[in-house]
Symmetry: C2
Subunit: 259 residues, 2 copies
């Protein structure tokens, strides 16, 4: 472990570099700061610019994970999504708003990188697994050095805290966004041994219906805020309401070979 | 970070406890020791008994990952598989041999746990994701306290090093053991947006055929020893031979929404 020496050094105290900075995509893990990797922790302590995504007026989830080790807001750059949750994610207006947001954010990061400052983007879970990071990476990867640090995924954190292995032997695992249609969800659930359903939000009633239709509801586990404060693990069939916050998912553990 | 104080203390120097020890399943990550979590590292430094699986006469892969931080072989317990690779994994003789091996190993760990010694099982990747750990966990979890520490999976390490996000937007990800039949592999590959094919071994020609049949061979990436020394990343179509060591997999990156 190194990097401690710079923990409280303000960004402006670092020497100006004659070369460009490196863009880091830092996997922040599932929530518990103890599940950061050694490498992620080192980069978080060192990088002069720490970027996180958030909703307007709120702190970002990835940033909250870093609370345990970061105490210098001078290094922080918050990127507030142009949230328009009333619009369907495939609606042209929404896509255009997001594209503009990512273009603008990439420009801001490019200014730092061009001035020789390393930029670390805090990414919930693993940066290359359904992450907003990828949209900035795509815009910057051909202009600046990039390093991605994989992280423990939210789903690993959830099945661990649920106390259930997800795959045994030759089990097939399918990871499904809850945004898919009822028919597609049902078909995919029927055709797999194990499943993780992500991005629940307002789609939980549909996910419940798909599991019931596939005859799998009794095996499904609901996990909320896995590895974090306020964690909740319950069989989905026993969950009375259909509220599902951002950090929640449904697990269908496999039942494969167990010698 | 704590735990350093016990780093070089031999197991017998620890005080005898009046309560049972805790069984830890420690996710060792994809290979690079810098990708251990802070929590995994702490437990590795502390636990008086460190268990790893291996083939007869060889060091285990999970144990090799720990080389960077462990220097006290007195704490180690190696469990050598009764490897009979000529027998099909579903053959009754093989299942019986494995079951006997796990029963015996669980008995040895129970002796340590019953004597109050914590036992840490080093598990490649994430312990609850296709891990041998689960077979000991299943035999011991109702008798002793258990804590599982999720890890960065081998597949996260591989797609990171391949420099390719695996899932975008609403992509469905399917994780497939290469041990499945050609027909099933082909069907599953056809019906997904993104895929990871694990456990390649001697099955690589079949995986290649399934990808070609599904019209996906041109998109497939082969990764060997991701995050480790000797790492190799190549488009599968450009890989001339069919050799695939233990630490290898095939990735089919998703092509979902990119605002």
């Amino acid at each position: 472990m190194d990097g401690f020496e710079r923990l409280d050094a303000p960004a402006e105290a670092l020497p100006a570099a004659s070369v460009t900075g490196t863009l880091y995509g830092v996997g922040m893990g599932p929530g518990d700061p103890d599940l950061l990797t050694v490498k992620a922790q080192r980069i978080l302590m060192r990088a002069p610019v720490l970027v996180h995504f958030c909703k307007r007026g709120k702190r970002g989830n990835a940033r909250t994970i870093a609370d345990a080790i970061l105490r210098d807001p001078d290094r922080e750059l918050a990127l507030a999504y142009p949230y328009t949750t009333e619009i369907h994610p495939e609606h042209p207006d929404y896509v255009a708003a997001l594209a503009g947001f990512y273009d603008d954010a990439a420009g801001r990061l490019a200014d730092h990188l061009g001035a020789g400052r390393d930029v670390a983007i805090l990414s919930e879970g693993d940066p290359f697994f359904y992450g907003s990071f990828m949209h900035l990476w795509r815009r910057l990867k051909d202009r600046f050095p990039v390093e991605v640090i994989p992280g423990v995924t939210g789903m690993s954190g959830c099945w661990t805290r649920a106390g259930t292995p997800i795959t045994w032997g030759d089990d097939v695992l399918t990871v499904l966004p809850a945004t898919l249609s009822l028919d597609i969800l049902t078909e995919r659930l029927r055709g797999t041994d194990a499943a993780v359903v992500m991005k629940l939000g307002r789609h939980l009633p549909k996910v419940r219906a798909a599991l019931a239709e596939a005859g799998l509801l009794a095996r499904a586990v609901y996990v909320e805020r896995g590895t974090m404060a306020g964690e909740r693990v319950v069989m989905l069939a026993d969950k009375a309401d259909d509220a599902a916050p951002y950090f929640s998912m449904v697990l269908l553990p496999g039942e494969g070979r167990r010698p």
